[in-house]
Amino acid sequence: MVCVAWAGEVDGRLVDMGLVEEAYAGALVDVASAPVSERYAAELYAGGILWEAERWDLASMHFRQVPEARLAYGYSLYREGQYGAAMLALEGLDEGRELSGFAALRLEDQAGAISHFEAAGATEVLSIVEAWKPLPHRRPGVAAALSAVLPGAGQAYVGRWGEASSALLVNTLLIGSTTTLIRREEYFAGVSVGLLALSFYGGNIMSARWGAHRHNRLAKEERLEALGEYEPRYRIEDGEVVR
């Protein structure tokens, strides 16, 4: 125990000096050499170093095998962006209810989030989330179909008017040029411009689909940004996960 504590102190100094990789290497040695009774502390310490470096993916691996570190595991998964897995890890854990609520929000499950916030007694967040109206969702398939019928229409549907006008203009010019050249029996030029027109037509459909995804993601992020101050932030201090 003394040995592990001393090694931990050395690692802590390395972190203070910005030598996170060196500190993590030391912490890994501590994990490998720690007896079962001290494994929780050693894993928590190693994971804590990775939290400092925001390596949530590696940190979650340390907490996964330790039943006592469920909150740390769930938080690592949450910060990693694996919200569904974070909710599973935190299931039934009272301290993790609020975080589960935020994970549910990120998965656009407003009702689930409300039930978690109610259970956690997070009244301020609850009142904000309950007042939310449904997100102005844009369907990627509809955007793509609209752009397939009229180039630029899908971009207009997702509110990207600059791209909509560019797509309409470029596609009209290219498709018009192709048909004119073919009618004049200038087949080589017609096929060449036609291939270019096809590229822009396909690109216009993709752009509309991608624009819908981007619109939905931004709408969600903008809404969640307003809740940023309520989002739980944890750190590891003296072998404990503290908020």
Partner: protein, 116 residues
């Protein structure tokens, strides 16, 4: 308000991107990809310098096309490059980055999740 906070935030330097064309000979597969690469390289060497550094995006559209063709193949890559050309750089929701003093719209291939 997301656009406002993005506009006020300090613009970081652009991430240096690797060569879009595989350096190992064994990885250079596909006649179409190689032909597209040569055409784009020709554009960069001959037309690009004559045309001037006018692209407002990072990586430039020709370099983006090289990445798109290398990663997604000729057909998807061509569609992606065409979509990039009609993209409106003034849309405020794109992130920005700097090369030297000049600010660019940061739009790499990785940011375009076409197949979700």
């Amino acid at each position: 308000m997301l656009w406002l906070s993005a506009a006020l935030a300090e613009v970081p330097q652009c991430v240096e991107l690797s060569d879009p064309y595989p350096t190992r000979r064994a990885e250079r597969v596909g006649l179409g990809r190689n032909a597209a690469y040569l055409a784009l390289r020709g554009w960069q060497l001959v037309i690009g310098p004559a045309d001037g550094a006018g692209c407002t995006m990072y990586p430039s559209c020709s370099r983006y096309a090289m990445f798109a063709v290398a990663q997604e193949g000729v057909i998807r890559g061509t569609f992606m490059a065409a979509a990039r050309l009609t993209r409106h750089h003034k849309d405020p929701d794109y992130s920005r980055c700097k090369v030297g003093d000049r600010t660019y719209v940061y739009a790499p291939v990785e940011g375009d999740t076409w197949w979700d």
